[in-house]
Amino acid sequence: MRGNFSTITKMFSAGVVAAGLLTSAPVKAADDTIKVGILHSLSGTMAISETTLKDAMLMLIDEQNAKGGLLGKKLEAVVVDPASNWPLFAEKARELISKDKVAAVFGCWTSVSRKSVLPVFSELDNILFYPVQYEGEESERNVFYTGAAPNQQAIPAVDYLMSEDGGSVKRWVLEGTDYVYPRTTNKILEAYLKAKGVAAEDIMVNYTPFGFSDWQTEVSAIKKFGSAGKKTAVVSTVNGDANVPFYKELGNQGIKAEDIPVMAFSVGEEELAGLDTAPLVGHLAAWNYFESVDTPENKKFIADWHKFIKNDKRTTNDPMEAHYIGFNMWVKAVEKAGTTDPDKVIDAMIGVSVPNLTGGYSTMMPNHHITKPVLIGEIQADGQFETVSRTPGLVMGDEWSDYLPDSKDLISDWRAPLSCGNFNVATGKCGGKGTN
């Protein structure tokens, strides 16, 4: 009994030590390092996308430390695993801010996880960098949106399809997974298309559940919709895993990109890595970054990434670039403010300009969104994208869509006199509400 008891105690204390090592080993070093929180799921459904971002952040922090750290201190990553569980995101965010005292957090992927952590960040007054393209209709003081707003991805993509180069599309299928991002994006797109003179019967909207795998009915409906004698295209906000069977079914039913192209907003290099790309050649995607972009910055980034992850086959993608931009902006803002105090950094962030990976500069705007170029790429047989169109200049992220009746009068400006994320220009009051 005694023996047993002591073993259990030993195991218990070992466990405590191990747990301590995992979460709070650096406590004693708290004064000479700056901590950066990484809030990405490492297990569960979203691990497929978010693990890569965790690794990208670790790489960026390593590189910054090699350059001598920040404000004379070393940076230190604090990684937590919210396990694709939305309420756990809020819990882990609280832990990062209150217990680990991080200076800023880089994290979240799905909109629902972001919505879940918002109250925590405003309550504890910290900074979140959100790196994924999203539906807009939000601007928070404590959040910096480094991914694309709908006007930095969806609208230019549709414009491209309407152009002669894109095939002068006249009929539209808006195919999405059933949750907030596709629903809001499709609402914006529907309003935009109608404003461009597309008739209601030339737009088909369809939603499928998460992880949907039997696409036969949907694909044959697309085929049927496309046989009305007008050039048809699919705009896909299908998310994550459901894309693979979707494209497989398109290939099997013989829908070619020359006939009915699919323009995707959630398919990147990472998703294509798990796919036999032969039947997908020519289908499109709209992003602000492609791994194939030929610039010295990007070449260096890819080389660093391969070295860091020790695998030459791993791809880079758009959200990784967003973290690259966001992290460098934060570093610059901290240097500008001379402190990591979130309040001061938030103010210093606006107007900060850093190089992006596509050969230009991205600037943080007063609405906490950034400027980016929009690229349209065609899928190639090697799983990479070939840029077929690029916006001539940078596009500024528009948080409140001009095409939705609820949000068209709203603007956001977090600079001193206004300091409001949802200012209604029609009523002159702060506190408007968007769609969703």
Partner: protein, 562 residues
Amino acid sequence: MTARVRTASSAVRTPTSTFRGDQRPMTLIRTGLMLLFLLATLSSSGAGEADLRGIIAKFATAKGFSEIGAVVHELAAAGDPAVERPLAALADGNLYVRKADSLVFVGKEAGESVQLSDPLSGEASGDAAKDGITKIKVNNTLRRVIRDALGTLTLGAKDPAVRVAAADTMFKTPDAANIGPLDTAIASEIVASVKALLEQARAASVLVSDRPEADKLAAIALIGARGDRDAVSLLTSIEANSTDAVKQAATTAIANINSTLAFWDAGQNIWYGISLGSVLLLAAIGLAITFGVMGVINMAHGEMVMLGAYTTFVVQQVIRTSFPGLFDWSLVIALPLAFLVAALVGLIIERGVIRFLYGRPLETLLATWGVSLILQQAVRSIFGPTNQEVGNPSWMSGSFNLGQLAITWNRLWILVFALAAFGILLYVMKRTPWGLQMRAVTANRRMAASMGIRTPWVDALTFALGSGIAGIAGVALSQIDNVSPNLGRGYIIDSFMVVVFGGVGNLWGTLVGAFSLGIVNKFLEPYAGAVLGKIVVLVLIILFIQKRPRGLFALKGRAVEA
């Protein structure tokens, strides 16, 4: 877009039609064509060839899609069938410029290097490293231009499949200028089915020409008889752009086709339902053993399916690196391995966890749930969180048409496979001594034990059998779904639904349950949408279970009452 295509094909038309326009006997034309082809491909001193080479060389300096497009037009306008090779290569993204000397080659990727060949003669021209050459870029617009240009040029090709493709392209992009070449092609065509397609393509071209009304009406009749979606598509655009009798005829033809298609649509829904049913059957059939026969609420069932899919991935990896020739056999090789891997893991779970928990369903549920999380994370740690690429063997790619039904090969094979797996399982259960013992243990464990059956071993092997069957289901599902650590999650709920609906403990119930759920689901989907359709099916099952708590085919026996 259309304007650009028109220029291409009308420019192409002139030389082709002068060559083929005369009415000499068919054989002579064919010989002439062959000769020209031979000349173009073999001789190295033809004036035409030098011109072509001159044009092809322009690819090296063309910048941007519009300039590349201009070169394509020029090449197509040369009207020489020999341009098929470089143009087809360009469309497939296989045309390269060698950086050293700016020469253009057709390339074929082979590992790290690219095998180059001459764009006209196809003669091998050595290998090149990937960074020593630049790929000439194409986009969808260019691909369409090339396809249209090739359509007119390849009407006289030797391979009937190429002529079918040409006819198909010309049908989809009708042009009055195509009538001449099509007339000559029809005159010399010997394969009846290709001839019919050529006639339809000609009819489509007549409709957009300024031929008299009578010709157009005949053309509409011909296209109406084709009766597929492409015909509707064409007729709809004709209907919008013409008047009186032609418009009238087009409207009637569209209505006729649509009413036939509505009938085929119902057929298609049934096929989709059967196909979804076969997937459900595959996923559930292993559970019908572990849950149905043994009564273990096995939440780790989906992970057995996932292990099977990962086994397929590993097998394909080994084949890709060591025996590329065997790729088409990869699934056949993966089947027994997946069975063994999943069965072994199942055996370990049964011996290690489940046997201590018999008769305690709640604890079993939680324990197997935990096991499923462990397995998922283990796979995630070993293979990484990203999807793994599992290729389709050639015999599982593409589709064929049965009337107006498009049936994809992979779905058909999965149906065959599901039925075969079901048949084998049924045979094992009903006709082998082991199956007899399994059934005996299920019916009355104590009586079976006193008859000398080693019930713990029967339990372990039964569980291993159910897991193994789930493993081979994974091989099939890897062909239509993502191979990721989450693969199993998507199937666990559906599997339980099928087994409970069909009647716990009854294999036939699982079969009928899977197919009826599949068909109901696919009939609801077009009307209610995928999300609502699934909800409706769930509600229907709940109502059904209220009425018949034991499912479709209730099992009678002591074990059930116990």
